[in-house]
Symmetry: C2
Subunit: 330 residues, 2 copies
């Protein structure tokens, strides 16, 4: 068996976020589904960007945020994703490496530019995302190195990867390699609408291929097409080794066979922007897990990391997460 080089290998869409404050009326005017991630084409991206206020650009991407959080927590992490060889691509690569994540995916030398996600943050701190996938559609199985997967304790995949066709193949190859090597496969369901688009495939994945599932209330109820959280929780029990189900201010529920843990949300002084909450939840959880911590403690770490990221704009941690964990967990 290969030696473990990474605690978490993340595979996902490599995206630069463009964050701008917006009023609810702006969402209505532009027919946006509040709180959701909607895929848009280049034309719509131009239109929306033109209508948005002045923005802040920050590296993002769901799985990328998660592995950035793992690195910030002292874990060893690596990212696989596709940018183009353009300015935003270089910014993405710089930022993820600067926080200590290994990133070696070759940038695309042609085709669409680096992906961007136009994020409107409303006064209630909720984020509504419109993603132009750009160069992400160039990610394919050839970008997945099976030895890399085999040397990673957990391979973490975002559900969003099922949107671009080649990325789905990369996802399947990575999942197969992880399982063949006896490693763990973690999946985030990403978004309720994403679950809608790929429900049957996600159901199959959860039942047969995923060890650790991350989902929020909206996603897990969408997956099982039920109208309440408890029903969804009953459905997921036994389908995967561990399911971490997040419920915003109601905290989270961790289901692992017979075990069920109900973890209260961490207090937050002021919620500024919920972008990245789920991503950082996964960072805390997986860092705890790969360090051999018990499930309730993994849940606490997850909640603390998520609370940090929603207390400021942007989806990457700003505070010293290791110091924060020490302070909160002792």
């Amino acid at each position: 068996m290969a030696e473990i080089s990474y605690d978490v290998l993340g595979i996902g869409n490599a995206i630069v976020d463009v964050l701008a404050p917006a009023e609810d009326a702006f969402l209505e005017e532009h027919d946006m589904a509040k709180g959701a991630m909607t895929l848009i084409d280049a034309v719509r991206a131009e239109e929306l960007y033109a209508a948005m206020g002045a923005g802040t650009e920050r590296s993002g991407g769901s799985a990328a945020n998660t592995v950035a959080g793992v690195a910030a927590l002292g874990g060893r992490s690596c990212f696989v994703g596709k940018v183009r060889d353009d300015q935003l691509g270089r910014i993405f690569a710089h930022d993820i490496r600067a926080v200590g994540v290994d990133f070696h995916s070759a940038p695309a030398t042609g085709g669409a530019p680096t992906a961007r996600c136009l994020i409107s943050v409303t006064p209630d701190a909720k984020r509504t995302m419109n993603t132009f996938l750009g160069a992400c559609v160039e990610l394919g199985p050839e970008d997945v190195d099976e030895d890399l997967v085999a040397s990673s304790a957990v391979t973490y995949l975002e559900g969003y990867l099922w949107d671009p066709e080649g990325a789905k193949e990369a996802f399947l190859k990575a999942m197969g390699a992880a399982r063949a090597a006896g490693r763990k496969v973690a999946l985030s369901l990403s978004d309720g609408f994403c679950v809608d688009r790929h429900r049957d495939e996600f159901l199959d994945l959860v039942e047969h291929h995923v060890d650790i599932l991350f989902a929020n209330e909206d996603e897990i109820t969408s997956l099982y097409q039920v109208d309440n959280f408890d029903a969804a929780m009953q459905s997921v029990r036994g389908h995967c080794e561990i399911a971490a189900l997040t419920r915003s201010e109601k905290g989270a529920v961790i289901v692992a066979g017979e075990e069920v843990h109900i973890i209260d949300a961490e207090p937050v002084d002021r919620i500024i922007d919920t972008t990245g909450a789920g991503d950082l939840y996964a960072s805390g959880f997986l860092t705890g897990m790969t360090a051999g911590r018990e499930l309730p403690e993994c849940g606490r770490m997850a909640g603390i990391a998520a609370a940090e990221v929603i207390s400021h704009m942007g989806a990457r941690p700003e505070a010293d997460l290791m110091a924060l964990m020490k302070e909160k967990l002792g």
Copy 2:
């Protein structure tokens, strides 16, 4: 005489800021002059960027920040500056237009990429800037429309324009056009090192061509090569119609012929990042002046706008400046 279309026309380097927190040791290690703006070439820019932590990209540029602030305060403003036709150039153009500034300068279609300023923000909230001028060197007199200048009440020029050769010519053309049309010329000295590079020319400008001068203590003492503020203030009196001299937490002094006003600094809860303090000071001052306010009130508006911008990361206002003025000035 042409009709007034703009309160303030800003001409400056069009720059995207890359902000990242840094420790003082980082500045020492990389031989940076703390608090200063240093010009760097492409190679050094690559080196420093590689060494910096993960960043946030925001549109910047000194005069551009100032006109963005004027627009935020309800003034009519326009910007002239040179980006390239690349991703960062489009971000710059989007952001300045999104806040209501007119911007029509044609982007360069070849040559260096859009300028960027690598800003290290130390824990004391001071910013140290390393600027790669990139496409800014393409700005030339052909980019200055004399009718535009003649229709602007104030043409605001940043001292930094004396760094790229063509921009200096653009500066001189704009200044000549403003004076020929009977409009006001405002100048910011920009930076102590910038004053060092161009002292003789700046002395000539201040004495013979500038109506409104903005300078901080460091810049004005450097200009006159004196070792204390009072000596510098005595020197500048009578050299230009109005000089607004800023002194950080000591407030500002406005000198206008016989008039001298000493305006205390606005209180700030927590200073996060001083990037843009001088730029927004000029926004408040010029907006007040072009609205016909008295000098002490212009000084208050200047201080309020500066206090807002240092209370968060980045050099563009985030709060509703018009509401803030109403609240503070009644």
